[in-house]
């Protein structure tokens, strides 16, 4: 019926078919178990993403252990600024309730640079309704302050108007211009 040659060709086709079938079996075995639960992806990847370590806390987590700063910060204009932006992440400081490192505190001209990052009036994109901006050194000159002064010599960094308002109370001088 079939010649020797034709027979061998049929065997070849059958072998290819079997190999392909086995290939699909191997494919099913090697595909991860959670694949396809919600869609064409490994559902375990969602759980793995949830396990990513959290590095930032919130201001509440910082202020829980720093009540002195809390009392000042929460009453000032800077209450919406994240402690971690200036000082570093929670995860670098506390782990499992224990202190594991000291966070840096900005000093001197570092403070001025940091303040001007938001409060520089030269960047015209800042709406006065959102934030009050000043130009340096005009701001210092207009307040009759030495131009080498850093911002924190008049403004408390955590509550910038704390000393200003107190000074106004004491001296009776009201705001002229900024």
């Amino acid at each position: 019926m079939f010649s020797n040659y034709e027979f061998r060709l049929i065997i070849t086709v059958v072998i290819i078919g079997i190999a392909t079938g086995m290939g699909f079996v191997v494919k099913a075995q090697l595909t991860p178990d959670s694949f396809g639960t919600y869609g064409h992806y490994r559902a375990d990847a969602i759980d793995e993403e949830i396990l990513r370590p959290i590095r930032h806390g919130t201001n509440t987590s910082c202020l829980k252990c720093h009540p002195y700063e809390a009392a000042i910060h929460l009453k000032g204009r800077h209450q919406t600024i994240s402690c971690e932006f200036c000082h570093g992440t929670y995860a670098d400081h506390v782990d499992n309730g224990k202190k594991i490192g000291t966070l840096p505190v900005k000093k001197n001209t570092e403070i001025t640079t940091l303040c001007l990052r938001c409060h520089n009036t030269e960047i015209k994109a800042r709406s006065q309704a959102v934030i009050k901006t000043v130009a340096m050194p005009e701001h210092l000159e207009s307040q009759k302050v030495k131009v080498t002064h850093t911002c924190n010599q008049c403004h408390h960094v955590h509550a910038p108007l704390k000393y200003i308002n107190r000074a106004k109370q004491i001296t009776g001088i009201t705001e002229s211009e900024s």
Partner: protein, 393 residues
């Protein structure tokens, strides 16, 4: 889209989105369509002979099959060099996403390797049987495997072989079309990139692939025959050049239609695409791809079509045109792949691409990857002779 009425020429600030500065798809991704294109074009020549019975192509039919096979063997190499995690490449076979054009690669490649491999085996079966009878040891074992361990060369068997070849080549044409067409769709399906997103992309890629493959066969045939001191079959070259002309006119027309219709419609971000072609890509697109590498071949092909030339002169022109067209297709791939990424998604600026020499996707790697198929071709030539005795004169 308002705020653009002045057009890109008036924009004074070049703004590239921060994540757009780096060109992610580099020279290896230029090379991959080029290689699969060569496979397709070479396969077209073989298909014209084996399926459509174009007798004048007999001298290059077997050679083009081997040429296609040699390049197909190397098709995964540029991709593996490009992947960030090449050790995970099997993921493409294990969990291919049905909505991703790129996911088709594993299976399409496997099928085309199978089809082309078997075509070669059936075409060369008679030669392999004879070689088996003259060999011993490990070579004999290899030949036994390659001939299905059967010596049957009877007319019935040969007729069966012819039918099988015809069926496989007929199957091979859509497979080859997918092999390269899906690459075109990888680009054509990216709506985020205005230079890539067009339904014409797979078509342009396929036609220029045929151009590159046929040109490669013509050039390789002429060069190898010249260096081995054998004669060059005139009618064969003429048929190849005629086919080449047809495909090239189609490819070039579609390429220019693409640019022209976008320029006319002026829709979407087209002013940025115009800015790209007239700016960073002015030299490589207008000067090299269009004027030099398309303009000159059009003139030469016209000469070869309308003026009666002596065969040696014709062959020389054929080799020259083929070399230029091989360059044209490479530059076209470069302009599409790398040029397309130069335009930032901000629609306000262009980034730059600096080819490295020693990167895994660098210039040296490109040269090596392009040389390997020729090494494979050389080895294949030792097992499957390129030309039959009668063709060697």
């Amino acid at each position: 889209m308002s705020g653009f009425h002045e057009g890109s020429a008036m924009l004074l600030s070049n703004f590239v989105l921060p994540n757009d500065l780096h060109v992610h798809w580099s020279m290896m991704i230029v090379l991959y369509p080029y290689i699969t294109g060569l496979v397709d074009g070479a396969f077209i020549i073989a298909a014209l002979y084996y399926l459509f019975d174009v007798k004048s192509l007999k001298p290059v039919a077997r050679f083009s099959l081997l040429f296609a096979l040699a390049f197909l063997c190397c098709a995964t190499l540029p991709l593996l060099l490009h992947l960030g995690r090449p050790e995970r490449n099997l993921n493409m076979l294990l969990t291919p996403s049905p909505s991703s054009a790129m996911a088709g690669f594993g299976y399409i490649y496997a099928v085309s390797m199978g089809v082309l491999g078997f075509i070669v085996l059936f075409v060369y079966r008679a030669d392999l049987v004879k070689l088996k009878q003259h060999s011993r040891g490990i070579m004999k074992l290899i030949y036994r495997l390659l001939t299905f361990d059967c010596d049957d060369l009877s007319p019935r068997a040969m007729a069966l072989d012819d039918r099988i070849i015809k069926i496989l080549v007929g199957l091979g044409i859509p497979v080859a079309a997918f092999l390269h067409g899906y690459v075109g769709f990888i680009f054509g399906g990216v709506k985020a990139n205005p230079t890539w997103a067009t339904p014409l992309m797979p078509v342009i890629f396929l036609f220029s692939a045929c151009v590159s493959g046929i040109a490669a066969i013509v050039l390789a045939y002429i060069v190898i025959r010249k260096f081995t001191g054998k004669f060059i079959d005139g009618p064969c070259i003429i048929t190849c050049i005629k086919t080449l002309t047809g495909f090239f006119i189609l490819a070039f027309s579609f390429e220019m239609l693409e640019v022209f219709s976008h320029s006319y419609l002026k829709s979407g971000y087209h002013h940025m695409v115009e800015g790209l072609l007239n700016g960073p890509l002015a030299t490589s697109f207008w000067l090299w791809q269009v004027k030099i590498c398309s303009g000159i071949p059009l003139v030469l092909l016209a000469i070869m079509a309308f003026i009666k030339l002596q065969q040696p002169r014709y062959n020389l022109l054929a080799a020259g045109v083929s070399a230029i067209l091989l360059l044209q297709v490479f530059i076209m791939r470069w302009n599409v792949v790398i040029g397309g990424q130069l335009m930032s998604k901000s629609a306000r600026g262009y980034t730059v691409f600096h080819p490295e020499w020693f990167d895994k996707e660098g210039i040296l790697a490109v040269i090596v990857v392009m040389l390997i198929p020729f090494v494979i071709l050389f080895i294949l030539g030792k097992i499957f002779p390129f030309w039959t005795e009668e063709q060697n004169g």
